[in-house]
């Protein structure tokens, strides 16, 4: 028999469609990230812009390399730029640029292209890149510089321009993040300053207020599924409220838990990634609550100060399963027979 090209494409369920094209949805999120990026430049200076640009360049380069033989422009859908931006916003402001670039390469290379490109990846590419960087360079990735303060927007952290593959030469002044203070020194940062965002941390994770506003706008425009952030933030709040009521000296208050770390950023931008989150409403709730529970467990009882990244990645892995068990029942199928 002669070999023929198969024309029939058999796809796995679900066959649901959002009705929005991928580039349009991506563009919406990219616009939403611009104010976050601007605020981070305001707090941490021009260094943060360099880090974001490096991460994005890394991602775009790999996307282009793997897809350069494709007829249409592989960068047109904007997903590589979005991933790079998302990754850049979760990195410490003083991170050496070569590390940010490597993070972008890994995010797109290992997080997306090896899975078969856009729409086929199991894990959130930006968070995969971040997890790789955190595992690889634990010191640089946990050196959170203090906000620049009076030094001016154009001041640059000395660690930013480190030679590729070399260590950060000088000991930069690092500020302990609010979650670090809680974990290792048992100090709780004032919820008010967390809300505005003038604390140490990655850019994206500092201002809860801005992220709440942006999240609200995105939900109103239907660019993201409201159920996932609602389930994630709600479950974190309820769970930490329970612990707080058990022992208020040992466990932080639930508002601290909501506004600290990368939780807000992850809830609005990471968890809602349509490729790596469930498609059904019921699935979205399960997904969000699972992430919330893992986040609280890691933060309060784990060895790491922040757990939302691993919470998202772990729940990403369960998405195919969630999609399977949360399929709405087709009309007339699967009902119990009468009298049983």
């Amino acid at each position: 028999m002669e070999k023929q090209k198969q024309k029939l494409i058999v796809q796995a369920a679900p066959y649901l469609s959002h009705g929005i094209t991928a580039p349009k949805a991506m563009l919406d999120i990219i616009y939403a990230l611009i104010p976050v990026a601007l605020l981070s430049v305001w707090f941490f200076g021009i260094s943060s812009l360099w880090v974001i640009i490096s991460a994005t360049l890394g991602g775009v380069l790999v996307e282009w390399l793997f897809n350069r033989e494709r007829a249409d422009n592989p960068l047109k859908d904007g997903s590589a730029i979005l991933t790079g931006l998302l990754l850049g916003l979760t990195l410490p402001a003083g991170l050496p640029l070569w590390m940010a670039f490597l993070g972008g390469v890994v995010a797109i290379g290992l997080g997306k292209t090896v899975w078969g490109g856009l729409g086929n990846n199991l894990f959130n590419p930006a968070l995969l890149g971040r997890a790789f960087l955190l595992g690889n360079f634990p010191i640089a990735m946990t050196t959170w510089p203090a906000p620049i303060g009076d030094a001016g927007i154009f001041s640059v952290y000395p660690s930013t321009f480190t030679w590729p593959f070399m260590q950060v030469a000088t000991d930069s002044v690092s500020g302990a993040t609010p979650l670090n203070l809680m974990k290792f020194q048992h100090q709780f940062t004032d919820v008010g300053s967390l809300f505005i965002g003038n604390v140490s941390g990655s850019y994206g994770e500092t201002s809860a207020l801005l992220l709440l506003v942006i999240g609200g706008v995105l939900i109103l425009r239907r660019s993201i599924d409201w159920r996932i952030p609602a389930a994630l933030l709600g479950s974190v709040f309820v769970l930490s409220l329970i612990f707080f009521m058990v022992d208020s000296r040992l466990y932080p208050n639930p508002f601290f838990m909501l506004f600290s770390g990368g939780l807000m950023f992850a809830a609005v931008f990471m968890a809602t990634d349509p490729v790596t989150s469930p498609l059904t409403p019921k699935g979205a709730w399960i997904f969000g609550i699972g992430m919330g529970a893992i986040t609280v467990l890691i933060r309060l009882f784990g060895g790491l100060p922040e757990g939302v990244m691993y919470a998202v990645l772990l729940m990403n892995a369960t998405v195919p399963l969630i999609d399977k068990i949360s399929q709405p029942r087709a009309f007339g199928h699967g009902l119990k027979k009468d009298g049983q």
């Binding site: 634990p138 010191i139 946990t142 290792f184 020194q185 060895g303």
Partner: protein
């Protein structure tokens, strides 16, 4: 490449099934020869292996208990630490090593302890000077802490130096680097707080068990510096 189908090994029909005796005999011969070889290699390598073990133990004790030239194993029986001869010790019985200087004066004890670290169990050995009542050295024997971060518990010489004259009473505490105020405190490693605290916890737990025994043996009183 032409691929041949896998051929399942089947005894040809014409051939007779070998008797059970033959099967048992084959296995017995194979087992006997294998046993013979195993025992021979064991006997040949045993002296080298034993010598290495004793030597590495002696060197480890020497590193945590300076001036040691010979060591002696001790176990705790009937309210006293007693020296054990070869083979006298029960298999699971906990023991510590006493170190002696060149004039056969007892210097103190090297105590092995283990406990949970950040990634896996940390095993360490520390020396307790019975005269000064201080911990005078600590060495991590085995750990799987994060390279570049948690592994500073043995690579960071500043951290290891914390244990060169450390008062173990009432208990050791890890404080932020540069904030040491008392002689029972150590500087934790920046960025590896968990591993540092794990070391302190392991030594404190082991001290709670062994220090009263050491003091009981040598007639010192415990949990007080005034006597």
């Amino acid at each position: 490449m032409k691929q041949q189908p896998i051929q399942w090994v089947k005894p040809p029909k014409a051939e007779q099934e070998p008797s059970s005796t033959r099967l048992v005999l084959t296995m017995a011969v194979a087992g006997f020869l294998s046993g013979l070889l195993t025992i021979s290699i064991y006997l040949v390598t045993l002296p080298t292996i034993t010598a290495y073990k004793i030597e590495s133990l002696r060197q480890a004790v020497f590193r945590v208990l300076p001036n040691t030239v010979s060591i002696q194993e001790y176990v705790y029986r009937d309210g006293q630490l007693r020296a054990v001869k070869d083979g006298e010790k029960a298999k699971d019985e906990a023991s510590i090593y006493g170190g002696f200087d060149i004039r056969q004066n007892m210097l103190g004890y090297a105590i092995a302890a283990e406990g949970a670290g950040f990634q896996d169990t940390i095993r360490l050995l520390y020396g307790y000077d019975k005269v000064q009542k201080r911990i005078v050295g600590m060495e991590v024997l085995d750990s799987r802490e994060t390279p570049g971060l948690g592994d500073k518990i043995y690579k960071d010489l500043d951290f290891v130096a914390n244990f060169k004259a450390l008062n173990p009473l009432p208990e050791i505490k890890a404080v932020k680097k540069g904030q040491r105020t008392a002689d029972n405190q150590i500087d934790a490693i920046t960025g590896a707080t968990i591993s540092s605290v794990a070391i302190v916890k392991i030594i404190n737990q082991s001290n709670a068990l062994w220090l009263p025994r050491i003091h009981a043996t040598h007639g010192h009183c415990f949990r007080s510096l005034s006597c």
